[in-house]
């Protein structure tokens, strides 16, 4: 987890120290991608090629009905937030304007850091009255360009709102502000004997407000379910500045329409989440982790089937990665070694169990694994004997996205597909692209979620043309989701029809119009531009 933070800091440092590229023109109709090479100082001398691409998928124009910032606006914001929290400094803005994958870069000139819900409300009220577009931002770890500006939208970063407001030791209900970093919440809860119901590789930087706004999934969804189930309440600020206090801490409350669900997963387009109340599960003492090798994908599937039956209630994670993913992780990550004795395996599976009785769980897991081995489902495997070993297994799986970033450019797809046919897509993609790119597949097999990644030395539109719309059409034919957990953001803003019907999207647009008539909240994202009219 620390390595994730270190990587982010590395990016920040390399941005602030040797920034040499120009601001891209704010009219992104141009269709080229630029690559800049630079090496980062101090750290191991890997050369990071920074790519930013102008979204060549469709011509987006800056909505002319949005106003442009002027000095009166800046002064007004300074009046609300204080000078320190109104940032125009170019270096900081550069970091806030660019997403984690370095694929999307906006040209915002202003970053605001409110400290209270009241401040967020006043800022939004003003922006709405002035018709200034805004981007709500948290940890900026999103993978679909949803957390950075497209043009000159004002960035409202809630990172300064990081208080834990209350925690009920009996019920496990945690109430905190949206800017709390997930890992910090995990540490806090650890002292109380609880854990967060979600866990993802970005935990060192991602914030709970962003997690909720994007309905983040992660590694433990198979056990604890999605945020739609674990979030009990939300406080959000609407586009016109109205504060919606739905911060209940009740497990059951059937009074009226449950509006908090609108904010979970709408990626900041319906309101800015400022506080979250979430139900946290008790920390169970017995955690076991096994790293297994399977010879083919159908063994992985059968293993999942068996695991759900034999491990039942103690199963807490079921992840898979293919051989290419493992090699990528071993080659590009530091301090990572193959847990298994060297041999050619095709697939790897991580199974985690969490329960309250150490010896019972261990016996159950061992019995299940030995039986699976006898049945030929597993060709080899190791069980972690202590927490350090478990962390090193997780490091491999959680580090694949990081390894991909180090390997060059990456086209990332996050798909929900039927488990039986999931890997066929990876193989077909491999056949189509041949030697021009490395295709890897890994993901939350337990949830039917494939992370398809295509790694190339540089971004190349010719390769992109072979990937899209093939991947989306393939997914659509399987009635899958073109975005299982990453969200639509900017990357898939026009792709929603692959997974949702026209009528459904129409209703979404109506709701957006109702809640944000001026369209200032995170524009150009989530819903197709053609559907949402801003006039």
């Amino acid at each position: 987890m620390q390595k994730w933070r270190a990587t982010c800091r590395l990016l920040l440092n390399s941005y602030s120290s040797k920034s040499r590229f120009d601001h891209p023109p704010s009219n992104p109709i141009s269709d080229h991608s630029t690559t800049i090479s630079r090496s980062s100082s101090g750290f191991e001398s890997w050369t990071s090629r920074i790519h930013y691409r102008h979204f060549a998928t469709a011509m987006i124009q800056r909505n002319p009905s949005f106003s442009t910032l002027n000095s009166d606006d800046i002064n007004h914001f300074k009046g609300i937030l204080g000078d320190k929290n109104v940032i125009e400094d170019e270096d900081t803005l550069l970091f806030a304007n660019t997403d984690w994958m370095r694929k999307y870069k906006g040209s915002s000139k202003l970053l605001l850091q409110p400290r209270t819900t009241q401040e967020v409300s006043e800022v939004l009220k003003y922006c709405n009255s002035r018709r200034l577009a805004v981007v709500p931002q948290g940890g900026n770890t999103g993978l679909v360009g949803g957390s950075v500006p497209v043009f000159d939208e004002v960035i409202i970063n809630v990172g300064s709102m990081k208080q834990v407001i209350s925690f009920d030791k009996v019920s496990g209900v945690l109430v905190c502000e949206a800017g709390c970093i997930l890992e910090n919440l995990v540490s806090f809860l650890d002292n109380q004997g609880f854990i967060m119901p979600l866990d993802l590789g970005a935990k060192g930087s991602c914030q709970i407000g962003g997690n909720v706004s994007t309905n983040a999934g992660g590694l433990r969804l198979v056990r604890y379910g999605s945020l739609h189930g674990t979030v009990l309440g939300i406080e959000a600020v609407l586009a016109n500045g109205d504060v919606l206090d739905m911060l209940g801490t009740l497990r059951k409350d059937n009074t009226g329409y449950d509006l908090k669900h609108l904010f979970i997963g709408s990626e900041g387009s319906l309101g800015i989440v400022t506080k979250v109340s979430i139900l946290t599960p008790p920390k169970l003492s017995s955690v076991n982790l096994a790293f297994l090798a399977c010879k083919d994908y159908s063994s992985c599937q059968k293993l999942l089937f068996e695991a759900k039956r034999r491990l039942g209630e103690i199963l807490s994670a079921f992840e898979f990665l293919d051989n290419e993913s493992l090699n990528l992780a071993l080659n590009h990550l530091e301090g990572v070694r193959n847990p298994l004795p060297p041999a050619m395996h095709n697939f790897y599976v991580l199974i985690e169990t969490t329960g309250s009785d150490e010896s019972y769980d261990k016996e159950k897991l061992e019995a299940f694994l030995l039986r699976s081995m006898e049945d030929g489902l597993i060709s080899d495997g190791v069980i972690a004997q202590d927490i350090n070993q478990a962390s090193s297994f997780w490091r491999i799986r959680e580090g694949v996205p990081e390894a991909l970033m180090k390997a060059g450019a990456v086209y990332k797809y996050d798909l929900s597909l039927p488990v039986e046919t999931m890997y066929n897509l990876v193989e077909e993609m491999r056949t189509i692209l041949g030697n021009s790119a490395k295709v890897i597949g890994y993901g939350h097999l337990g949830d039917g979620n494939l992370h398809l990644n295509i790694s190339t030395p540089q971004y190349d539109d010719a390769i992109l043309a072979q990937i899209e719309p093939f991947v989306y059409e393939w997914t659509s034919k399987q009635r899958g989701s073109i975005s299982a957990e990453h969200g639509l953001g900017l990357m898939k803003a026009n792709k929603i029809f692959y997974s949702k019907s026209h009528e459904t999207v129409q209703l979404m647009a109506s709701i957006k119009k109702l809640m944000d008539p001026n369209g200032i909240l995170n524009p150009y994202k989530v819903l197709p531009y053609s559907i949402v009219s801003y006039i």
Partner: protein
């Protein structure tokens, strides 16, 4: 040659420790326990020596309550051939452990006794040295490299000392305690875990070994270190001098 390896069951290295409210010790209920990391390294070294053909058998030994058997199973899963559990409840201080090892060594007659340099719960760093003293055997402690010469029955040990590395050569039988950089322990693979189920764990009690466990040590109190106070940003040099003089009393 037989190698005997000491493994201790301790609170997992990655766990956040809490002191018991009555300050008699550390909270161990519902806390994950694992093999002491230095003991893992000791066992790994023994296994490598055996795989290199220098030894015929690796015996893992643990002392304590019944749950020590779990740690021994891990040792067997890593590759030890058999295990010995000395069943003793109550606190076991290094001298008692050393005396118990002397008794076991006289029974089993290993050519090499490898231990971790210290346990991460008490940080004593005494057992290995005491056993060597009781047995009259040479000792190579804080080993970062071990090379055996089977013919001459010698062990050459590189030790990590404050000033750098010291290389010692000693006759076998000898006691070696392992330091962090000696090796990277292997993981317990499923086939080995399966084999481990049929390996033997022999139980002894201190009475059977004719050792009386008595301790000259008594733990009076266990407390957390004082919390580090937050730093203060001073606004001027004068304020700094004032604080150094009147608060920190260093000038």
């Amino acid at each position: 040659m037989k190698i005997m390896v000491a493994v201790k069951r301790v609170i997992d290295y990655a766990v956040k420790i809490r002191v018991k409210p009555d300050k008699t010790g550390v909270e161990t209920q519902n806390v994950k326990m694992s093999m002491n990391p230095f003991c893992e390294i000791a066992l790994e070294e023994a296994l490598r020596i055996k795989e290199g053909g220098m030894a015929s058998e690796v015996v893992a030994v643990s002392m304590g309550p019944a749950q020590c058997v779990d740690t021994l199973r891990t040792g067997l899963a890593m590759g030890a051939d058999r295990a010995i559990h000395v069943d003793a409840t109550g606190p076991l201080y290094p001298l008692s452990v050393a005396k118990l090892f002397k008794a076991l060594v006289e029974l089993e007659k290993p050519g090499l006794l490898i231990l971790g340099k210290q346990a991460i719960d008490d940080d004593c760093n005494q057992t290995g040295q005491m056993v060597a003293g009781l047995l009259g055997w040479p000792q190579g402690t804080f080993a970062s490299k071990v090379v055996l010469d089977k013919e001459k029955q010698l062990a050459t040990v590189d030790r990590e000392v404050d000033g750098g590395l010291e290389t010692l050569c000693m006759d076998l039988p000898a006691v070696i305690t392992t330091d962090l950089r000696l090796n990277q322990p292997r993981y317990a693979t499923l086939p080995n875990i399966m084999k481990a189920k049929s390996k033997v764990i022999k139980k002894y009690t201190p009475q059977e070994l004719n050792i009386e466990i008595k301790s000259d040590l008594e733990v009076l109190q266990v407390t957390e270190p004082p919390k580090r106070k937050a730093g203060v940003i001073v606004s001027s040099v004068d304020e700094l001098i004032d604080k150094l003089k009147n608060e920190a009393h260093v000038i």
